[in-house]
């Protein structure tokens, strides 16, 4: 990242190659619409390009990248929520959230994505950073700006809720921790 901040386009290419999967995976599992995940991928790397000169190496680049990814996804989710609220308020039919979603997935993976999306935001994020990116508890704590013990609890609860849901049992464990 420092090489890119110094003007090396090749360094940016390397960053994009190395991390595009992480950004896309995260967005794809958070957002119901696959095209929204594509836009997040683009927005995140555009943000990296635009902020390169201001980049200060504090900790792992991946943590920095995933913080931007998470914030970009949260902004979109908030937009979606507002849009649904507006639609409901004005009496329009709510768009089916999963109509275009999970295109290209087989049923089983689509079910896992849906189960993931039903987790409280922070549980889902902690589980994904751990399972998808093999980040340590400390690195996840940096991304989520949360104490390490909370991260452990988030992951255990998230994994527990997923296992229960995927096994056809309902669980109400949505207190956000």
């Amino acid at each position: 990242m420092l090489m890119f901040a110094d003007g090396s386009v090749e360094a940016f290419e390397t960053l994009f190659e190395r991390h595009r999967g992480s950004v896309y995976r995260f967005a794809r599992s958070v957002l119901a619409d696959p095209s929204a995940a594509e836009e997040v991928l683009q927005d995140v790397f555009l943000a990296i390009v635009r902020s390169a000169k201001r980049y200060e190496p504090k900790g792992l680049f991946k943590a920095y990248l995933m913080r931007i990814t998470r914030n970009t996804c949260l902004t979109r989710l908030e937009g979606e929520r507002l849009r649904r609220e507006m639609a409901a308020q004005f009496g329009r039919m709510e768009e089916p959230q999963t109509a275009a979603a999970d295109r290209g997935d087989d049923d089983r993976l689509a079910a896992v994505r849906r189960a993931l999306r039903r987790l409280p935001d922070r549980q889902r994020e902690a589980v994904m950073l751990h399972a998808f990116e093999q980040m340590t508890y400390q690195q996840i704590a940096d991304v989520l700006d949360t104490p390490i013990n909370t991260v452990k609890t988030l992951i255990h609860r998230g994994r527990a809720a997923l296992a229960e849901r995927l096994n056809g049992q309902s669980t109400e464990n949505d207190d956000g921790v």
């Binding site: 896309y24 390009v49 998808f132 994994r159 527990a160 296992a163 995927l166």
Partner: protein, 153 residues
């Protein structure tokens, strides 16, 4: 007898995040508990599903689309010291055909039959043309007859 060990405890157990005492107690318990065995298998299955999702990658079309958008953004930072004629035309915001009549005037050099222009020389050339343009405008203005004063009548 109903087992009161929940999924969350078992998830912490599998992750190795419980203290030794609890681990030892659970090691002994899960061997004989059908409910815990079932839950552990469920955890394993959902972990395998997550591992599959972890292999998700954007498809080649998505990558291409994003690359194009990023290339546009990167272009201004891609400041090579030496430019091709196509790059010169792009830099001057004219077409390659419009550049052709200007090629002899450009501060270019020959690189084994290829024409190249140094960015700094091109900027100096633009400066010079700017000065010439200003001088000619000034000269034209001075050559014009003075405007007549507006009559009050």
């Amino acid at each position: 007898m109903e087992c009161n060990i929940d999924y969350e405890t078992l998830a912490a157990y599998v992750a190795g995040d419980l203290d030794e005492q609890r681990v030892a107690a659970l090691d002994a318990h899960v061997l004989d508990c059908r409910e815990c065995s079932r839950r552990l298998r469920a955890l394993e299955r959902s972990d395998r599903a997550l591992a599959e999702l972890a292999r998700t990658e954007p498809d080649s079309q998505t990558v291409l689309k994003v690359r194009r958008a990023l290339a546009n953004e990167l272009r201004p930072t891609q400041r090579s010291a030496v430019m091709t004629l196509d790059q010169v035309a792009e830099f001057l915001q004219i077409s390659r055909t419009e550049l052709e009549p200007l090629i002899d005037e450009l501060p270019a050099f020959d690189l084994g039959g290829l024409v190249r222009v140094r960015r700094e020389k091109l900027l100096a050339w633009i400066d010079e043309r700017e000065r010439r343009f200003l001088r000619s405008r000034l000269h034209n203005d001075m050559a014009k007859p003075p405007r007549e004063e507006a009559s009050d009548v």
